[in-house]
C-alpha cells in the first residue's frame, strides 16, 4: 500500500520553508517581501482546496516575474488537479530556475511516484536529499529505494535522518530491522529503545525489541518487553510462550512454568509450548509433570530432538535410566551436538558408575553449551570420581562462575519485573 503520497496539500511548514529558501532567488528585496505575502495567501488557498483560485493567482504572479517558489506552488496545484504533465513542466522549470531548491525536487519526486515512475522519482529524491532533509514520507520512500538497490548504508542514513527530524517510529523500526539484519543487535536495540521512548505501548515496537533481545542473547531485556506484551495482548499465544522461554534462559524456572501454563491454556496442542514447559518442570525437578507434557509434545511432533532430550532428562530424574538413555540417543541421532542429550547420557553413566564414559559425554555437553551449570557440576563430580582433582577443581570453579552469572541474572530479572522479595528489605 502506498502511504500518503497523494498530492493532497502542502505539508505543514512548506510555505515557510519555501520562503526561507528564497534567498537564492535574486529579486529586489521589496519585491520579495510583497511576493512572499502574496505567496503565503496562495498557499492558504491551496490548503483550503481552492485550487482554481490559487492557480489563477500564481499565474498572475508569474506573469509579472518568474520565480521558482511560485512555479513550485503551481506545480503542486496542477498535480492536485490531476494535470500531471503540466505539473511536471512547472516543477522542472522551478528546478531549472533554482537548482539548489529542495522542495520542487521533492514535489516532482512525489509526482513521479504517483505515476509509478520509480527510477525518476529515485533520482529526484537522491538529489533532494543531498540538498536538505526530505519530508517524512519521501525520506522513508527513499530509504526503501536505497534498500531495494542494495545500498543499506544509504538506507540507514536516510532512516536516521527521518527518525531524527520527525521522531518517526516507522523509521526507527525499519532502521532496527536493517541493523539487526546485519547482526548489529546493539545498534538495533538502541534504535528500538528510542522507539519505545516515543511509542511505549506499540505492539510492533515492543515485539521488535523482544525479538532482537532474544536474538542478541539478552533474555532479561526480552522479558522487560514480553511481560507487557503478554499482559496487553492476552489472546496471543506467542507472547507468554516467548516470555516463558526468556525466563527459562535466565534460569527462572518457576516464573517460566507459570507463564508457559498460560500459553498452554491459550493453545493446548502446541508442541513448542509443551516442550518449553517440560524443560521448566525439569529445572524444578517436577519430573512427572515434565514427562507428561513432553510425551504430549512428542505426539504432536515425534521427531523433535529438543523434546526427546528433555524427556530423557525427566526420565533420568525419575530413575528410568534405560528409557532416558534411549531418548537421549534418539535426540543425538538427530542433533549430534545436543548439549542436554549429552548431559543426560553423562548423568546416566554417572549413576551406572562408568565415570570415564560420563566424563566424555559431559565434555561434549559443555562443548555444545559452555554455560551449562548442570553439566559443569556433573563434570566436576566425574573428574573427582576419576581421581583428577585438578580438573574437578577447574570445573567446579566454572560451575560457580556460571551459577553466579545465573543468580545475578535472576536478581536483575526480579528487580525489573517486580517479582523479587520486595524493595524494602536490604
Amino acid at each position: 500500500m502506498r502511504r500518503g503520497l497523494a498530492m493532497r496539500g502542502l505539508p505543514a511548514g512548506l510555505v515557510t520553508a519555501l520562503l526561507a529558501c528564497s534567498t537564492i532567488w535574486a529579486a529586489p528585496a521589496g519585491a520579495r517581501a510583497a511576493d512572499a505575502t502574496r505567496l503565503e495567501k496562495v498557499a492558504a488557498m491551496v490548503e483550503a482546496g481552492r485550487l482554481d483560485a490559487a492557480e489563477s493567482e500564481l499565474r498572475q504572479i508569474l506573469a509579472l516575474e518568474d520565480n521558482p517558489i511560485a512555479r513550485d506552488l503551481l506545480g503542486v496545484v496542477l498535480g492536485r488537479q490531476g494535470r500531471h504533465e503540466e505539473a511536471e513542466l512547472e516543477l522542472r522549470r522551478a528546478i531549472a530556475f533554482a537548482p539548489d531548491l529542495a522542495a520542487p525536487r521533492q514535489h516532482l519526486a512525489r509526482l513521479y511516484l504517483i505515476q509509478k515512475r520509480e527510477a525518476e522519482a529515485a533520482a529526484e529524491l537522491r538529489e533532494a536529499a543531498r540538498l536538505g532533509p526530505l519530508e517524512r514520507e519521501l525520506g522513508l520512500r527513499l530509504a526503501a529505494i536505497e534498500q531495494a538497490a542494495g545500498d543499506d548504508a544509504a538506507a540507514q542514513r536516510q532512516l536516521r535522518a527521518v527518525a531524527e527530524r520527525y521522531e518517526s517510529v516507522r523509521a526507527l523500526l525499519e532502521l532496527a530491522r536493517l541493523e539487526s539484519g546485519r547482526g548489529d543487535h546493539e545498534s538495533a536495540l538502541g534504535s528500538l529503545r528510542r522507539a519505545l521512548g516515543i511509542a511505549p505501548n506499540s505492539e510492533a515496537v515492543l515485539r521488535a525489541h523482544a525479538e532482537v533481545s532474544l536474538a542478541a542473547a539478552a533474555p532479561i531485556a526480552a522479558v522487560w518487553t514480553l511481560e507487557p506484551l503478554a499482559r496487553m495482548h492476552p489472546e496471543r499465544v506467542e507472547y507468554p510462550y516467548l516470555l516463558g522461554v526468556a525466563r527459562l534462559k535466565v534460569g527462572d524456572a518457576a516464573g517460566a512454568a507459570e507463564t508457559l501454563e498460560r500459553a498452554l491454556a491459550l493453545e493446548p496442542r502446541r508442541a513448542l509450548t509443551l516442550i518449553a514447559l517440560g524443560l521448566a518442570y525439569n529445572n524444578q525437578k517436577r519430573f512427572e509433570e515434565a514427562r507428561e507434557h513432553l510425551v504430549r509434545s512428542l505426539r504432536l511432533d515425534p521427531e523433535n530432538p529438543e523434546a526427546m532430550a528433555a524427556l530423557a532428562q525427566a526420565e533420568e530424574g525419575l530413575g528410568e535410566l534405560a528409557e532416558a538413555e534411549r531418548h537421549a540417543r534418539r535426540a543425538l541421532a538427530r542433533n549430534p551436538a545436543h548439549s542436554l542429550a549429552h548431559l543426560v547420557v553423562g548423568m546416566v553413566r554417572m549413576k551406572q558408575g562408568d565415570y570415564a564414559a560420563a566424563r566424555d559425554a559431559l565434555l561434549r555437553s559443555v562443548e555444545a553449551n559452555p554455560g551449562s551449570v548442570k553439566a559443569r557440576y556433573q563434570l566436576s563430580l566425574a573428574y573427582a570420581r576419576l581421581g583428577d582433582g585438578e580438573s574437578s577443581k577447574n570445573q567446579l570453579a566454572l560451575y560457580r562462575e556460571a551459577l553466579a552469572r545465573m543468580e545475578e541474572a535472576l536478581i536483575e530479572l526480579n528487580t525489573r519485573t517486580g517479582t523479587g522479595s520486595g524493595g524494602m528489605r536490604p
Partner: protein
C-alpha cells in the same frame, strides 16, 4: 453492604494530603479528562502523520487514562468491585502499569483486602525501590494488614531514600502515633510544618493529634493555623471537636464558640452545623439548636444524626408531634444504613444509638397519646440495649471516629482518594462517566481497526467487544465486532452483533449478506435462507445464489433448491468454480463420468482453477488409475503448492505405486506444514512399518492415534508396530480397539 459513610466523610468532610497538595497547585479546577483528551488528540495527529505505531501507543494511553477515570468514578460512588475491574483494565492497557496497579491496591485496601494490596505494592516497590509513593502506600497496606512494625520500618527507609517526599513525614508520624509513640511523632510533624509552612499543614497536624487523643497538642497546632490565617477552613471546626472530646462542662461552651466561628467561614457546612447542634443540645439550648440541626438534616452526610437530635430538641421543647416525625426519619435512615461487620453479621449502626432513637421516639409517642406505639418502641429500645441513652461525649466520639482517616483498624492516613472526580456533583460524575465510556469505546474501536488491518481478527474482536460492553450503541462498533468475528470464523458469535448492527443500518445490503453467511456457517439454514430470499442483488451474484441454494437444501427445501441450482448453471455455465463444485457433487455420488466432464470443463475455462485437478486425482485414485491420479495431483500442486490435501493424496498414490521414498519425502513436507495431520502421521507410520523401522513407525502412529483416537486403521497399524517391537500386551489392546471400532462402524454407530 458495607457502609459508604467513612469514604464519603473522607472525601467530602476532611482535609487530606490531597487537599494540602492541591492547595499548592495552580488555581482553577483541573479537567479530570485532560490526559485522556490529550492522548486521543496525539493519537489522531500521529495517524495523520502516518505513524501507526505512535497512534496505537497513544490510543493505549487513552485507554488507560479512560479506565483510571472510570475506576475513580466507581470508587467515589462506592462501587469497589467495578473500580477494581476498571483499574485492572487500566493496568492491562499499557506498558507502564504502575498507576493502574497503585489504584487497584488502594481499592483492595479500602475493600479490606490489605494482604492483596500489600502484594501488589510489593511488586511495584521491588521494581523501583526509590518510588516513595508506592512504598508509602505499601506501608499503609502493611499497617492495615496488622504489620505495623513492618510498616514503620518501610516508612523509615522511605524517609532515608526520598527525604524530599514530605508526605512520608506525615505517614510515619501517624504510624508512630498508632504505636503509641507521640514523642517520636512530634519532631516529624514539626519538620513537616517547617517544610510546608502553611495554615492547612497546621490544620492537618492538629487533626492528626486529635485523632490520636492528644488534645493539647491538637489545640496548639490548630491555634497556630489560626494565627497564620484566622479564616483558614476547618481549624475552628477541629478545635470545636477537640473541646467536645475533652473533659469538663465548660469545654462545651468553648466548642460552641468554635463551631460558630467555623460557620462564619462556611455557613452551610453540614458537619459543623451538626456538631454545633449537638453541642447546643448538650447545653440544653434546644431552641438555638434547631436552625443548625435543620441545616444538617438536609445533607446526606449528616441527616440521620441531625434528625435524631432534632427529635430530642423538639421533645425537650414540648413539640412531641414534630419530635415523632424527626425521630421516625432518624430511625428510617439508621435502618437504611445498616452495615455489615467484618465477621459477616448484620447489625444496625450501633446498639446504643438505635436504642436511644427508639427510646426518644417512645417518649414522644407517649406524649402524643399513642401509648401502644410507645410501648412497642420502649420494648425495641430494651431489646437493643439495656442503656437507653448515650452521653453526648460518647455520641461525639462515635461521630468523630467515623470521620477519622485512620478509623479502619491499622490504616495510616486516607486510603482512597480521587481528587479529580471527588469534587464533582453526582450529575457531573454521571456526565463525565458517559463521556469517558464513549471515548474509551471509540478508542477500542480504533485499536480494533488496527488489528483488523493486520488480519488479526480474534484480537480485533476482543477489542471491539470491550468497547461494545462500555457503550453498546457506539456507531459502527457492533458492525465491526460482527465483521471481526465473522472473519475469524466465529460465525455463531458473529450473528448477535451483526443482527444489532442491522438494526443500526437496516438498508445495508452487504451487512445483510454477511449476516446470512454467518447464519449459514453456524448451521442456522432457515435464518440464512430467510435473509437471502428477499435479497434483491442475489440473482446477479452467483455466490449468493449458491449460498441461498445451499441454505434451502440444508433447511429441507430441496425442491426450491433444485430450481436455484438449475438457474445458476444455466446462467453460469462459463463459471469455472461452479463447474468444480458440480464435479465434486457428482463425484460424491459416484457419478464419475459426469464429474470428470464438469471438472475438465472447469479446466478448459480456467486451467488454474483450484481443486479441479485435485478432484480428478481423487477420482482416478478411486478408479485405480494411479498414473493419471499422480499426473492430476502433480498438476494441482504445481498450480497450488499450498494444497496440503493434494500433497498427502499424492503421497498415498506414490505409496500404492511402491515409491515409498518419494512418498515419505512428501509426507514429511506435509507434516511440517500440518503437524496435526492424523492422516499424514498414519501413512508415514504405515510406510515406516512396512520398511521395518518399527520404532520410528510407533512414534508416528502413536501421534496419529492421539490425534484421531477413533480411527480403526490407525489402531491396527499401531498394534502391528507394537507387535513387531515385542510389546504384545499393548499390541493386543490396540487390536481389540481396532475390532471394537470396526464393529461400531459396521453397526453405524461410529465415524
Amino acid at each position: 453492604m458495607r457502609s459508604r459513610r467513612p469514604i464519603l466523610l473522607l472525601v467530602l468532610a476532611t482535609i487530606s494530603w490531597c487537599a494540602v497538595r492541591s492547595s499548592f497547585a495552580a488555581a482553577g479546577p483541573p479537567d479530570p479528562a485532560a490526559r485522556l483528551t490529550r492522548a486521543l488528540a496525539e493519537a489522531e495527529t500521529s495517524l495523520r502523520q502516518n505513524e501507526p505505531e505512535i497512534a496505537e501507543s497513544r490510543y493505549r494511553t487513552a485507554l488507560a487514562e479512560g479506565w483510571l477515570l472510570l475506576g475513580a468514578l466507581a470508587a467515589v460512588e462506592g462501587d469497589l468491585v467495578e473500580a477494581a475491574r476498571a483499574f485492572e483494565r487500566a493496568a492491562g492497557s499499557v506498558t507502564d502499569d504502575r498507576r493502574g496497579l497503585m489504584a487497584l491496591a488502594m481499592v483492595e485496601l479500602e475493600a479490606g483486602r490489605a494482604g492483596e494490596a500489600a502484594n501488589l505494592l510489593r511488586r511495584l516497590a521491588a521494581r523501583n525501590p526509590a518510588d516513595a509513593e508506592v512504598r508509602q502506600s505499601l506501608a499503609r497496606a502493611l499497617a492495615a494488614a496488622g504489620s505495623l512494625e513492618e510498616a514503620v520500618q518501610e516508612l523509615e527507609e522511605v524517609r532515608v531514600l526520598a527525604p524530599e517526599h514530605h508526605e512520608t513525614l506525615y505517614t510515619l508520624a501517624t504510624a508512630y502515633l498508632r504505636q503509641g509513640r507521640p514523642e517520636a511523632a512530634q519532631p516529624l510533624l514539626t519538620e513537616l510544618a517547617a517544610e510546608r509552612p502553611r495554615p492547612e499543614t497546621h490544620v492537618l497536624i492538629g487533626r492528626t493529634w486529635r485523632d490520636h487523643g492528644h488534645h493539647e497538642r491538637a489545640r496548639a497546632a490548630l491555634e497556630a493555623a489560626l494565627e497564620l490565617d484566622p479564616g483558614v477552613r476547618r481549624a475552628h471546626y477541629y478545635l470545636g471537636t477537640v473541646e467536645l472530646l475533652s473533659e469538663g462542662r465548660g469545654r462545651i461552651e468553648e466548642a460552641i464558640g468554635h463551631f460558630r466561628a467555623e460557620l462564619e467561614v462556611a455557613p452551610d457546612d453540614p458537619m459543623t452545623n451538626l456538631y454545633l447542634g449537638i453541642g447546643l443540645v448538650e447545653s440544653r439550648r434546644h431552641e438555638e439548636a434547631l436552625p443548625p440541626l435543620e441545616t444538617a438534616s438536609r445533607a446526606a452526610i449528616s441527616r440521620r444524626d441531625a434528625f435524631q437530635f432534632l427529635g430530642r430538641s423538639y421533645l425537650a421543647l414540648d413539640r412531641p408531634a414534630e419530635a415523632v416525625t424527626a425521630l421516625r426519619r432518624a430511625l428510617e435512615l439508621a435502618r437504611a444504613e445498616a452495615m455489615e461487620l467484618p465477621d459477616g453479621v448484620f447489625v444496625d449502626l450501633g446498639e446504643s444509638q438505635l436504642s436511644s432513637i427508639h427510646y426518644q421516639l417512645a417518649l414522644a409517642l407517649r406524649r402524643t397519646g399513642k401509648t401502644d406505639d410507645a410501648a412497642t418502641h420502649f420494648a425495641r429500645a430494651r431489646e437493643h440495649s439495656a442503656r437507653l441513652a448515650e452521653s453526648s461525649r460518647e455520641i461525639l466520639s462515635r461521630y468523630l471516629g467515623q470521620e477519622k482517616p485512620g478509623s479502619a483498624p491499622g490504616v495510616l492516613g486516607p486510603p482512597l482518594e480521587f481528587p479529580a472526580v471527588a469534587g464533582l456533583e453526582p450529575a457531573g460524575r454521571e456526565r463525565l462517566r458517559r463521556a469517558v465510556a464513549s471515548a474509551v469505546a471509540r478508542t477500542y474501536l480504533n485499536l480494533g481497526v488496527f488489528k483488523s488491518r493486520e488480519s488479526r481478527f480474534a484480537g480485533a474482536a476482543r477489542l471491539f467487544a470491550a468497547g461494545a460492553e462500555l457503550d453498546p450503541g457506539f456507531p459502527r462498533l457492533q458492525y465491526s465486532l460482527g465483521v471481526a468475528l465473522f472473519n475469524d470464523g466465529q460465525f455463531e458469535e458473529a450473528t448477535a452483533p451483526l443482527t444489532r448492527a442491522r438494526e443500526e443500518s437496516p438498508e445495508d445490503a452487504d451487512l445483510r449478506r454477511m449476516l446470512a453467511l454467518a447464519r449459514l456457517n453456524s448451521e442456522d439454514y432457515e435464518g440464512a435462507a430467510e435473509l437471502l430470499r428477499s435479497d434483491a442483488g442475489r440473482r446477479e451474484n452467483p455466490s449468493l445464489e449458491y449460498a441461498y441454494g445451499l441454505a434451502l437444501v440444508r433447511s429441507g427445501r430441496a425442491a426450491e433448491a433444485e430450481s436455484v441450482f438449475a438457474a445458476l448453471l444455466a446462467e453460469n455455465s462459463e463459471w469455472p468454480e461452479l463447474n468444480v463444485v458440480l464435479g465434486q457433487a457428482y463425484a460424491q455420488q459416484d457419478e464419475y463420468e459426469a464429474a470428470i466432464g464438469s471438472l475438465r470443463r472447469a479446466l478448459e475455462l480456467d486451467p488454474g482453477v483450484a481443486e479441479a485437478h485435485a478432484t480428478l486425482g481423487d477420482i482416478f485414485l478411486r478408479q485405480g488409475k494411479l498414473g493419471e491420479a499422480e499426473a492430476s495431483l502433480r498438476a494441482e500442486l504445481a498450480a497450488h503448492p499450498e494444497d496440503e490435501r493434494s500433497r498427502y493424496t499424492l503421497a498415498m498414490v506414490l505409496d500404492l505405486n511402491r515409491r515409498p521414498e518419494e512418498a515419505k519425502r512428501l509426507l514429511r513436507q506435509h507434516l511440517d506444514a500440518r503437524p496435526l495431520s492424523a492422516d499424514g502421521r498414519y501413512l508415514l507410520g504405515k510406510i515406516l512399518l512396512a520398511e521395518g523401522a518399527a520404532e520410528d513407525a510407533l512414534e508416528q502412529l502413536t501421534a496419529a492415534a492421539d490425534l484421531a483416537p477413533e480411527d480403526a486403521n490407525i489402531r491396527y497399524q499401531l498394534g502391528q508396530a507394537l507387535q513387531k517391537l515385542g510389546r504384545a500386551d499393548e499390541a493386543r489392546r490396540e487390536f481389540e480397539s481396532f475390532r471394537r471400532l470396526k464393529q461400531a462402524q459396521r453397526d453405524g454407530g461410529a465415524p
